[in-house]
Amino acid sequence: MAGITVRLAWRNLWRNKRRTLLALVAIALSQALVLIYDGVLRGYTDWMVDVLTGPMLGHAQVHAEGWRKTRALDKSFPIDGVLRAVRALPGVEDAHARIYGPALGAVGEEGFALVVVGIDPAAELGAHGLLSGAKGVAPSGKRVLIGRPFAEANGLTVGAELAIVGQGADGSLANDLYVVAGIVPTPVDMVNRMGVLMALDEAQGLLAMPGEAHEIVLRGRDVNQAAALAAAAAALPELRGLEVLDWTRLSPDLYQVIQILGVAWGFILLLVFVAAAAGVANTMLMSTFERVHELGMLLALGATPGRLIRIIFVEALALGLVGVLAGSALGGSLVALTHERGVNLAQLTGGGPSELSFMGIVWSLTFHPTLTAFDFATSILGVAVVSLLAALWPAARVARLQPTAALRA
């Protein structure tokens, strides 16, 4: 019996090519659009997380107790043992140290405030480091790097001699001469506006803090495991007495922003889905209602209501499946295409800045649409279900009609 149902359904579909095609296209396009939006949403939130856990925060950070409150120079801690222990942790991809030393700088006689940022050049040259945009230029010895806003505000050019004066961690007067080796863009606003990037060992020497630093930035393989990473690091004996926090707790407000944006966009995803569902439903309802005459004929020829419903069910199922699969292929390939190259928001909507500074971070306006198996599964299920329901309901109504009434319609 099933065989006949399927064959009838199949033949029905083929017989009315245009109607079939119409329904298929509606379903496929709607599914494609839902997937595209989903890809954009996921890419966008992933990108936000990526930027936030990039150079500025990493996945987790280690500080001396109380440093984050006052950023006092003398609240540093010895790093060698800590770095070794932390790098040995499974799941840690990278760990490097930083120094933050407020000081006074001068080119001529006029002093201006700055922050000496001591960094590990090799580590920060990586994709997630402060020097990721520096095109391979790194500070070393007396050669330092600065940001463009800082250079412009204080009249510094490449090759300029910069005197730096400050208080060392032991209270002594720290002072030395440096050469501006390059003006580089960093992803952290504060560094661009006030920072002087210096090799870590040089900063340790200048600020009289041998073997010490203010911050260790940890990076794991999976950003979603950041909390576990922080907990594992905190449990190490070498880190006793130090404060270890994952990025959501280091910057709860940034984290909240992501969450709220996620909810807002998710709300819109819901709307997109509703729109798509409405479109699909409309199409299927329309198609089915238009077939009243045809269905009436089948009833008159002796088909049972049950059989009728089953036929329509198989039709709708076939349509739905093929439609979502086609749509998934279309949407999925579009996302895959843009995933590598990324989508530049500025280009897409016609002009605007190509990067902007917000909440202390410089954001480049390119994000990468992404889809996961979960996204495919949910949208396929959703759209398919809607198609089925939208076809079955009118079918059920028709099935209960008297054949003559149906024929006359």
């Binding site: 003398d74 006074l104 001068a106 006689e109 405030a113 208080q167 961690a169 209270g171 002072n175």
Partner: protein, 246 residues
């Protein structure tokens, strides 16, 4: 309040049988002027103790009036020759190691003085124990021998301290000052000792400042030599003089 210059009264304190409570007004006037002078040259040792370490500087300091100060570091060797010059609204640092003079912007002038526990208004000699506080003798102290005075800040006085408890020895020299903030909480304690004759004045050569509630922190300042009301060469407080290495 530290009063950083004065003429010491030549009246000897009576070490006689029944200690007589001092004339408070005269006593405070003397204390205000203890370290004050129209000009001075002094060598001092400053020790700052923090939980991390102890740092000792030896400096030579010239002052004229309230507006001109030159401080040159003699020791430790790492910082020797570093100098700070203040003339009116300008503050410069001379850094011999890099042979540079740098002007400190006004916004950065308010911090603690040279990393010590002294505040900037400690160094501005505008506040006066006698004028800003209503004082009375509180009680006698037998060991060390002296009088405890209770000073309450007068209405409308601008300053950190609502109350100061001052222990003055029978020789009219300060032994201890306890500063209470505007909420009446003990904020810091200063002790004075090593009484010597410096620049013709008899005064405590050593001051120790201990802030309350910050374990492991203290600042010591000790006069090695001092000359008060001396004639200073005219170009002492100049940048060029600053830059010549000392």
């Amino acid at each position: 309040m530290i009063a950083l210059a004065a003429l010491l009264s030549l009246a000897a304190t009576a070490g006689a049988a029944a200690p007589v409570p001092p004339d408070v007004d005269r006593l405070l006037a003397r204390l205000d002027d203890l370290y004050r002078s129209k000009s001075s040259i002094a060598r001092m040792e400053i020790s700052v103790t923090t939980p991390r370490n102890v740092r000792t500087l030896r400096v030579e300091a010239w002052t004229r009036g309230e507006d001109e100060v030159l401080v040159v570091v003699e020791a430790p060797p790492r910082e020797a020759g570093t100098a700070t010059l203040r003339v009116g609204e300008n503050l410069w640092n001379w850094l011999p190691r890099i042979a540079r003079t740098i002007r400190v912007p006004p916004s950065m002038m308010l911090g603690s003085w040279m990393g010590t526990d002294f505040t900037n208004d400690d160094l501005v000699k505008e506040s006066s124990l006698r004028k800003d506080f209503a004082a009375r003798v509180d009680r006698r102290s037998d060991s060390p021998a002296g009088w405890w005075l209770a000073l309450e800040a007068k209405e409308g006085v601008v300053g950190r301290w609502a109350r100061i408890e001052l222990l003055v020895g029978d020789d009219d020299l300060p032994i201890q000052e306890r500063h209470f903030d505007r909420k009446g909480r003990l904020s810091r304690t200063m002790t004075f000792d090593e009484v010597r004759v410096l620049g013709g004045r008899r005064l405590p050569a050593r001051m120790v400042l201990v802030p309350e509630g910050e374990p492991g922190k203290r600042t010591e300042m000790r006069y090695l030599e001092a000359k008060f009301d001396v004639a200073l060469p005219p170009d002492v407080f100049s940048l060029s003089r600053l830059e010549r290495s000392r």
